[in-house]
């Protein structure tokens, strides 16, 4: 999610258009020499695949002469999309990820905000240690994080399960009801520190004088944190929310790893797992349509969330 997450930054950021006088710049050939090393692979490995996915999603496989005839692809309009929308597995994967997002994202961002605020108060010692500790999981790829946690979930190996058994709880982290939240925990562990650091960077750029007035009025650290700091860094909070929504919809590696040890994760657990499964069955057109639908839902949710919050808070 990093990349997508980090990428979303630019959505919020207004581009600074600086008009300059024409002329005086290098020759067109030189400009092209600077641009081509990026734009050529960008064209080939970004724009062409996007176009290809859109085109594929409008095609269908037909057969000549019944079940045993040769197959060929033809233009099918929105047939693939209609199939996606009729697919109950698609909707249950969306529902699952929706539930995941509605719970995991606010919990993670709240914890991130609390850590960022505490790191920004004089109340706390060992700040560098806590900051680094929280950020450290960001260096761990999703697959390895999920492997690590899967050992902590496994009834045979986990010291956590042993501990909880010892005090009379019988946890089943991989059970049908719990496995979604076990996945959510891996995401939370991975991304809390990253989100915290974005909020913390924003807090650090607030000039100290802003707090002086509040302090003179006798406001406590608590009041300053929630009434002064949080509203100021609201844009960063919106930003991290958008990252997280995007990341949630792309979820793949973590549930795929947990699937190796839990039968309660199906091959269509998340929308991306569904797309992969459908593609593995050689139904590329349907997989392309699923990918496009996921991308569209991502755009709509991200922009919707930004519009909603900016209206409400007047950002």
């Amino acid at each position: 999610m990093t990349d997508t997450a980090a990428r979303a930054t630019s959505v919020v950021a207004p581009t600074r258009v600086r008009r300059r006088l024409r002329g005086g710049g290098p020759r067109a050939g030189t400009v092209a020499a600077f641009l081509t090393p990026f734009f050529l692979p960008f064209l080939l490995f970004y724009l062409v695949p996007v176009g290809y996915a859109l085109w594929q999603s409008l095609r269908v496989v037909r057969r000549t002469g019944g079940q045993y005839g040769t197959s060929y692809t033809a233009f099918g309009g929105f047939e693939q999309y209609a199939q996606v929308l009729r697919n109950t597995e698609f909707w249950s994967s969306i529902g699952r990820i929706g539930l995941f997002g509605v719970v995991q994202v606010p919990v993670m961002l709240f914890v991130a905000l609390v850590i960022a605020l505490l790191l920004d108060t004089p109340l706390l010692k060992l700040k560098a240690f806590f900051r680094i500790t929280a950020f450290m999981p960001y260096a761990v790829p999703g697959v390895i994080a999920a492997i690590m946690w899967s050992y902590l979930y496994s009834p045979q190996l986990s010291p956590v399960v042993d501990l909880l058994n010892g005090i009379g709880l019988k946890p089943d982290f991989l059970g049908p009801g719990a496995v979604l939240w076990s996945t959510a925990n891996v995401s939370t562990w991975l991304w809390t520190g990253y989100n915290m650091l974005i909020m913390f960077s924003a807090l650090q750029s607030i000039p100290q004088e802003l707090y002086e007035a509040a302090k003179i009025d006798g406001a406590s650290n608590w009041t300053i944190a929630w009434r002064v700091k949080v509203p100021i860094i609201a844009p960063s909070i919106v930003l991290t929310s958008v990252f997280s929504i995007i990341g949630t919809l792309q979820l793949y590696a973590e549930p795929a790893v947990l699937r190796q040890i839990s039968s309660n994760i199906s091959s269509t657990f998340t929308p991306n797992m569904l797309a992969y499964t459908v593609a593995s069955g050689n139904n590329y057109q349907q997989a392309a349509a699923i990918s496009v639908v996921i991308a569209v839902i991502t755009f709509v949710l991200s922009f919707g969330f930004m519009r909603l919050t900016s209206k409400r808070a007047g950002l």
């Binding site: 990428r7 630019s10 030189t30 400009v31 902590l152 960077s201 960063s236 795929a256």
Partner: protein, 285 residues
Amino acid sequence: MSNPSVIRESRVSRTAVMALMLLLAVYFLLPVYFLVVAATKPQGDLAATNGLVFSHFNLFENLRVLFTRSDGVFGRWALNTVVYAVLGAAVGTLISALCGYALAKFPFRGREVLFSVVLGGVLVPTTALALPLFLLFSATGLVNTYFAVFLPSIVSPFGVYLARVFANASVPQELIESARLDGAGEFRTFFSVAFRLMTPALVTIFLFQFVAIWNNFFLPMVMLQKESLFPITLGLYEWNGQTARAPLLQQSVITGSLVSIVPVIIVFVLLQRFWRTGLAAGSLK
């Protein structure tokens, strides 16, 4: 303030804050600590002993098994990961820097249009690209080669965005003009003047792209069948899937996970300030 109740209150809240942060620190460190402990144990002790307590120290034997298993395929995966993530991020940073610099400093027609296209690219989730890329690459015979993972990984629209922001902020136009007056060509100017001024920014771009590639599991998974081409993540994933049939693999999955994350964690902690520059630039500009 000398009001005693205020002082007591602040002592109580200091303690509460410290307790909360320690609890969170335990949460963040627990899986890594577990991994360190588990990596030092013989396979037999994994299930038989408490996972949080060291038992027989067997780390070196575990490492030997890890690096010799299947003709040393793990070392190969590590090397592949360096090629994909380190080399890929380095090439990616260079082309992003050239492009971002040109978009920031050269006046030319269509500049804003090109930049908008790049920003659009920022929004495309990489997982959405993997499947169509697979189809395109299988048509051209690129599937199951280094290029299948390497080439798409060097493209980072976000890197171009950051490079443009940083070039605007850190390379004064006057310096470029004076280098031009001295007769330096545009590339010479870029590499001798701009590159140096942009170095901290380029480290940030490199780090972001490194993480993106290091984390991108979907692309290699879709593209590669040949084990010898896998990055570490895909290799460990495959091994992890076989532990039900070959339980002894478990220890290698654990040791392999530890070996692959420790160097990255160290580098990240050492380069912390670059993250903060990047995150601040990304979110505030």
